[in-house]
Amino acid sequence: MKSAAFEYARASSIAEVCDWLRKGGDETKLIAGGQSLVPMMAMRLTRPARLVDINEIAALKFVALEKDYARIGACTRQCVVAADNALAKQVPLIRQALSWVGHSQTRNRGTVGGSLVHADPAAELPLAAQVLDAQLLLRSHAGSRIVGAAEFFEGPLATVTRADECLEEIRWPVWTEKRSGSAFTEVSRRHGDFALVAAAAQIALDADGRCTRAAFGLAGGGSIPMAFPALAAQLVGSTLDDDAINSVTHDAATALDPGGDLHASPGYRKQLAAVLAARMLRAARDEALKQ
């Protein structure tokens, strides 16, 4: 359980990170909180030749609230983000998701960007990013580009980030509707474990309680967290009664292709997915109705 040997460099700026990645992107791995990377190195599932430490780069640690987006620096600690009340008001789903992530010791170290680029299919933050279609700013020595969450995740532990690119910030869309609500839940063996299935939803309502915008997604049901924009769009105009909700969540669960293991069979996971997604849509609706 000891890592293989590697070289270490502490970067002090984003430009320096890009420089390291340009020189040796393939053998170089960035380390942020290390809460997933270090166990993988200890188990020798990965053996990077060089680690570039981005923990001391102040420019990667911020929460900035703008009208349409909440911007979060990639290396911002999960504990800092979870404690941010102004952010929780603008994009409540982030705090709701974080309440299921790891434990205080791992959230003190783990970062928002690290969780996204690690892209565990059952992780909470990637699911929240999918549901809200967060925009990810990737930077390399050659420039920067913005990728939506819908294109970002490619497979288990795989994203479209190129070997010479790093994640710089995440822009979370703010829903400005007066009446909106969101909800996140999961079923796992123990609180803080990765989810067997996780579900998240966000809803906006008009004055009469009719749905004007909806988003929902599921994690643990396949190789990446999934959002269902086409199904969510079917909810617009409805009052989000049980029939409307159950029909889309049934279709979403049917579209999943979960694996089975000793914790849960594929059938059980699908069943959970339908139940949890419906529950979260109702919870988000009820939250919106209160406003």
């Binding site: 359980m1 000891k2 590697f6 270090v38 010791q105 791992t106 003190n108 609180h191 803080g192």
Partner: protein, 161 residues
């Protein structure tokens, strides 16, 4: 020879300088080089919490950090919780009093997590206590007495003020 990196870390109030290979974990440095064996190491991959230490005042898992990453930072281990005269801290004494330990394997991690909680939240609810130690596995106590011990420590600390 593996390349060595110079580090200076404040450990329990003392500046400690060393040359370490990059892959040396923080917990191995503390235990094997500094001989601070109070911090335990169980799983070595971030599951059990036995290796919890405070990094700049916040509890983290020292098996999930490399010693070289701690350069320039402040580390508190369970040894650092003792009072200046070498007596057990209020929290440590409360663990004894409330039978908050049996084999003691989890205890250093439990102490670090709950001390960090009490530092920020002097009067924690049961839920806050359980959340703070949620990442620390104990195979002996069933957690009940540990929660009691933290509550007792909070009461004693409040009475002292």
């Amino acid at each position: 020879m593996e390349k060595l990196y110079p580090i200076t870390v404040e450990v329990n109030g003392k500046q400690r300088a060393a040359q370490v290979p990059a892959r040396l974990s923080l917990v191995d440095w503390l235990r094997d080089e500094l001989r601070l064996t109070g911090t335990h190491v169980g799983c070595e991959h971030g599951i059990c919490g036995a290796c919890s230490i405070m990094l700049d005042g916040d509890p983290v898992r020292s098996c999930l950090m490399f010693a070289v990453q701690a350069d320039g930072h402040r580390v508190t281990t369970v040894e650092g919780l003792l009072q200046a005269d070498g007596k057990l801290s209020v929290l440590q004494d409360s663990f004894c009093e409330a039978h908050g330990l049996q084999c003691g394997y989890c205890t250093p991690g439990m102490l670090i997590s709950s001390q960090a909680l009490l530092d920020k939240t002097p009067n924690p609810s049961e839920e806050q206590i359980r959340d703070a130690i949620g990442g620390n596995l104990c195979r002996c106590t069933g957690y009940k007495q540990i929660v009691d011990a933290v509550k007792l420590a909070a009461q004693r600390l409040a009475a002292k003020k």
